[in-house]
């Protein structure tokens, strides 16, 4: 076992069943401080199920989750978020009719004057902070006071990721953050992820894109049919090995081709 002070997230025999379907079986997972890992696997391998348990979207059938050394039970995504686990989902969860600062600070607005629900917003401060946050990510959004709904997919994804990244969260989880993006936008998102590595913010990345995974993470966890079948250091493996682990077959050229 690793030195427990180094570990930010650990799961023990985490299991999720939907009726008779064993979506996740005995997952034992660890994530160290500052570490960036990827979770890979075929469709239905249990990746998203695993993420839904640790972000409070669903509650596990059995097994335990330890976050920062303490056993935790998240009953809602909000509780996980309050504990410091930020997630960026494929469906973004942005408010299209609000501008960039409003989205970044939704639910934790900067205030000029406190008066319950009628507290006055400090719009200037939020705009300045939003500018600073987005400058770090090198994303070009010409006018931050435009509605997020009027922006491109890449810009929206960057806003969503910046929101997670800008609140000094203790763990960020990204589910297919670049699946819907073009080449340039993908590069921008990857740059944000590298920035998080420099800031030593731990990250769990779910991706089908093995090239991206090898470029970005320290360690790869492979899921197959609801079980964790492997944990490999990215620099000590190659695409062939990962693909055989994902598919459970030794070298099938066709399967490899579809992943790389």
């Amino acid at each position: 076992m690793n030195n427990s002070d180094d570990i930010i997230l650990r799961t023990e025999n985490l299991t999720k069943r939907y009726g008779g379907v064993h979506a996740l079986e005995d997952a034992n997972f660890t994530l160290k401080k500052g570490e960036h890992v990827a979770i890979v696997g075929d469709n239905g391998a249990g990746k998203s199920t695993f993420v839904r348990q640790i972000t409070g979207v669903e509650q596990p059938t059995s097994g335990d989750i330890f976050f920062q050394g303490k056993r935790v039970e998240f009953n809602s995504p909000l509780e996980a978020r309050e504990a410091g686990i930020e997630s960026v989902f494929q469906d973004l969860a942005l408010c299209n009719d609000l501008d960039v600062p409003s989205n970044l600070f939704l639910g934790r607005e900067e205030l000029l004057f406190k008066f319950g629900p009628f507290s006055i917003l400090d719009e200037k401060k939020m705009m300045e902070k939003a500018k600073a946050v987005l400058e770090r990510t090198a994303i070009k959004i010409p006018n931050l006071s435009n509605h997020v709904g009027d922006m491109s997919g890449g810009q929206r994804q960057c806003v969503a990721i910046s929101r997670s990244a800008s609140f000094a969260s203790k763990l960020i989880i990204m589910d297919e953050p670049t699946a819907a993006l073009g080449v340039q936008e993908t590069t921008q998102v990857e740059n944000i992820i590298r920035g998080l590595k420099e800031q030593e913010v731990p990250l769990i990345l779910i991706s089908h894109n093995l090239r991206q995974v090898f470029n970005l993470v320290d360690k790869i966890w492979v899921f197959r049919r609801g079980r964790i079948v492997g944990e490999v250091i990215a620099s000590e493996t190659d695409g062939n090995e990962i693909v055989s682990m994902i598919t459970g077959m030794q070298g099938g050229v066709h399967e490899k081709a579809s992943y790389i």
Partner: protein, 328 residues
């Protein structure tokens, strides 16, 4: 130089408003041989007419921004008006409702009237937030119930002899002043406070708002309670102005309010809209009503045109939304 996209959204609605006013002016000279706008008395009547449902519309705007609807405005107005009037009778009232409560200081009927509205709004909000019943149904139930309670309250009798100090809040420019004060306050509240931001957020993406830590249920109850209080305020002002409380007051006002909100550019899909637009929408409806009367067009034809305007405004909104989806 003005660029089109730099103009506020209200500019186009305001242009429509001016256009309609000028159209009636021209039609007036052609068909009636008189000026429509050059009659200060008429302008005064228009403004006083729109104030009452305008106050309701300020609340309805906020409900619609959360992507809900409030159909109960007119009925809540009537109930609040009846209750307020029954507590505002002068000391020498003939056949008073509550002989023991005559000549009360006016703060009491005003406060109780607002509280009746707030309670109705709170019930609307609680049903919508906690039962999953759509606000359309919840507030439709309130529309029927509140009107019935307003009738039962005095067994159908109107409430006369309101004290002079009470009726003074409905006289002269007071209704206009109250309407504009309410509109300005809530315009600023929506724009610059946490309450406003969360109202837009819930209408824009309720799930995202919840994940962001907003207590969506509590917030919705607050929005409906404010809308109810404003309907209550409209009831107080209306019975003070009419110097009588009647259970039939404000019939169909909820539809005028909703029309004004929609004409003013607030999206029925939620997330978008401003009180400033609603105020212009209220003025447009006022000018149309007054203009048709001026041209001696029958009331029922007015209603036909109003109905078409509402449908037209919603169609425009749908097209705007579709264009936005295409861009995104």
């Amino acid at each position: 130089m003005f660029k089109r996209e730099n103009l506020p959204a209200e500019a186009s609605i305001f242009a429509v408003f001016i256009g309609i006013a000028v159209l009636f002016e021209v039609l007036g000279w052609v068909f009636v041989g008189k000026s429509f706008l050059g009659n200060p008395q008429r302008l005064e009547i228009i403004i006083l007419q729109v104030c009452i449902f305008g106050i309701i519309a300020v609340g309805v705007t906020q409900v619609i921004i959360t992507s809900g609807i409030d159909l109960s405005g007119g009925a809540v107005l009537a109930l609040s008006a009846m209750v307020a009037a029954s507590l505002a009778q002068s000391a020498d009232a003939f056949a008073p409702i509550f002989p023991q409560f005559l000549g009360l200081p006016i703060i009491i009927p005003i406060t109780i009237g607002l509280l009746v509205g707030a309670t109705c709004g709170w019930i609307n909000g609680a049903i919508t937030a906690y039962t999953g019943i759509p606000s359309f149904i919840a507030t439709l139930g309130m529309l029927v119930t509140a009107r019935a309670v307003a009738v039962i309250y005095t067994e159908g009798q109107p409430v006369f002899s309101l004290s002079e100090s009470f009726t003074s809040i409905g006289s002269g420019a007071w209704p206009v002043l109250i309407f504009f004060t309410v509109a300005v306050i809530f315009h600023l509240v929506l724009k610059h406070t946490v309450y406003g931001k969360h109202t837009y957020a819930i209408g824009s993406n309720e799930k995202a708002a919840r994940v962001a830590g907003i207590n969506v249920r509590r917030h919705k109850i607050m929005v409906y309670t404010i809308a109810g209080s404003l309907s209550g305020l409209a009831g107080v002002v209306m019975c003070a102005r009419a110097t009588i409380g009647q259970s039939g007051m404000g019939t169909m006002y909820e539809l005028d309010a909703i029309s004004a909100v929609v004409i003013g550019g607030t999206s029925l899909f939620g997330g978008r809209g401003r009180i400033s637009g609603t105020v212009i929408g209220v003025c447009i409806l006022g000018v149309i009503t007054s203009g048709f009367t001026f041209l001696r067009i029958d009331f029922y034809y007015q209603e036909i045109v109003k109905g078409m305007i509402i449908v037209g405004a919603v169609m425009l909104d749908q097209r705007r939304q579709a264009q936005q989806r295409l861009r995104a």
